[in-house]
């Protein structure tokens, strides 16, 4: 964290939330740049031997969900002792993380959506099919408007993964050896909703999204509402764990 310039008390939680976002984006800028270069260069390499029918950026954007979960969980795990020891209250830290989650998800979601649109233009120029692996069949994403609509869901998905990561990160700090077990209920819920939204298998252990097939027919509006409710529930659970979290004793 650089150049904070002494923060004012009532608003420092918001300044910190914005600061976490800019610092995280700065810290991971080369990772994001590498994903961009790789996703855009790989199809040109593969095109030497095979037809290109599937979006490479789609995989990079989906990997961003895991990345987001690791960022939020990792940050929170480290920030709990650091921030509380620096005189921040748990409530202030929770608000900062909430703002960080929203801003990070918007920023990464914007990159994901813009990448899809840029990739669509690039694929169109090369005469390639811009599709996704929709449960074992290649389905075209569609027109530019449909691609934009497809990509517009990424901020929400990133937010859900951010909240899930924060919950597991907070639990892992609080219950040193058992906190990660919260993955057991969290992963199937998040994966199933992710699966249901796009009718695709999420990146990772796809079997964990087994409920996605059952709820995939409920309609996109309801699934989006469920994703919003899930993000809120995960955030509320993370807040509950965080609000009276004790700092661990130092080990010699």
């Amino acid at each position: 964290m650089t150049a904070l310039a002494n923060l004012r008390l009532p608003t420092r939680r918001y300044a910190l939330g914005a600061g976490f976002t800019t610092e995280a984006l700065k810290f991971f800028k080369y990772w994001i740049a590498a994903a961009l270069v790789l996703a855009f260069a790989l199809p040109f390499a593969v095109a030497q031997w095979n037809d290109i029918t599937i979006s490479a950026w789609y995989y990079a954007a989906n990997a961003g969900k895991w990345f987001t979960a690791f960022v939020s969980g990792g940050f929170l795990f480290v920030l709990v002792p650091n921030m509380i020891a620096t005189g921040l209250t748990r409530r202030e830290l929770a608000v900062s993380m909430g703002l960080f989650g929203v801003l990070w998800s918007l920023a990464l979601g914007a990159i994901a959506c813009a990448g899809l649109l840029a990739e669509r233009a690039s694929y169109a120029a090369m005469g390639w099919s811009h599709g996704i692996d929709a449960n074992d069949a290649i389905a075209p994403i569609g027109s530019a408007a449909e691609t934009a609509a497809f990509g517009a869901h990424y901020p929400l998905l990133y937010l859900v993964y951010f909240a899930a990561g924060a919950l597991v990160g907070a639990a892992s700090y609080r219950w040193e050896s058992a906190g990660w077990l919260l993955l057991v209920p969290v992963l199937p819920v998040v994966f199933s909703l992710d699966n249901a939204l796009y009718d695709t298998k999420p990146v990772g252990p796809g079997w964990a999204g087994f409920l996605g097939g059952l709820i995939g027919d409920w309609g996109r509006g309801l699934i989006i509402a469920l994703l919003l409710a899930t993000a809120a529930a995960l955030a509320a659970a993370a807040y509950r764990i965080l609000i009276d979290i004790p700092l661990r004793a130092k080990k010699a």
Binding site: L9, T86, L88, R91, A249, K250
Partner: protein
Amino acid sequence: MSFTVNLRGVSLRYGSEDALADIDLDLEAGKIYGLLGRNGAGKTSLLSLLAAFRKPTAGDVLVGGEPVWENAPIVSRVALIREGGDFDDSDSVKAVIEAGQIRPSFDTEYALKLAERFDLPLKKKVRDLSRGKRSVLAAVTGLAARAELTMFDEVHLGMDAPTRDAFYKELLAEYMDRPHTVILSTHLIDEVANYLEEVVIVDRGRLLRHADIEAFQGMGATLTGPADAVDALGLAALAEQRLGGTKSITVADALDAPTRERAAAAGIEIGPVGLQDLFIHLTDPERKAA
């Protein structure tokens, strides 16, 4: 403004174990306190409650007259520096110092000045610092916090003797320049004794004694003189040292007038008791069992 500290019926349990039990304690603002106790006595637990690192199982913890728990205007002006500091090891020393600016009162210029004085490499990662340098970084962030209640918990560990001496002097200079409440928790009792105004001793999770340093020193005496003459007084010694024909003993009881007269007549010098000797005596498990 510096902070008072008030604990009322405070207990802290870790599972089924009492770390602190029924603690009542009042500390006036603007003094330097020594917090003493054997390993596991509850010193760190007590400090953790004052800094809202933990929530008490029972009782009230007031700092500056207000509950400290989740009280941003209070905790932002309370600094507890634990051994080795609470840092992200992947951060640079400079980043750790700058992170202190989360506190409205943090003095970055002062922190950088101290970093230079103590030879802290600003660009180095925390994980690459030696134990001593890491302790120095922790001490620097504590001093530069400019908090109203500053607590150092064994922060000197790993520092060499000249660095510790420089740290104590800087702490005292900062205290004189800006009176605030300071609590030093340490096992190097005689090393800090001259800086302390009051001493709090905890033992097995309970408050054993709280008094000003003169009262502690008056609880006993050190007698130095010819060995035969010292032995002839027949006093029960807590500790004794002998050099040639000269003997020095520490006793835990205040000397009565006749004993003082006999000692003076025998050429024995009477001085205040050493805080460390008294602490050892007061927390001796056999003494309490008896």
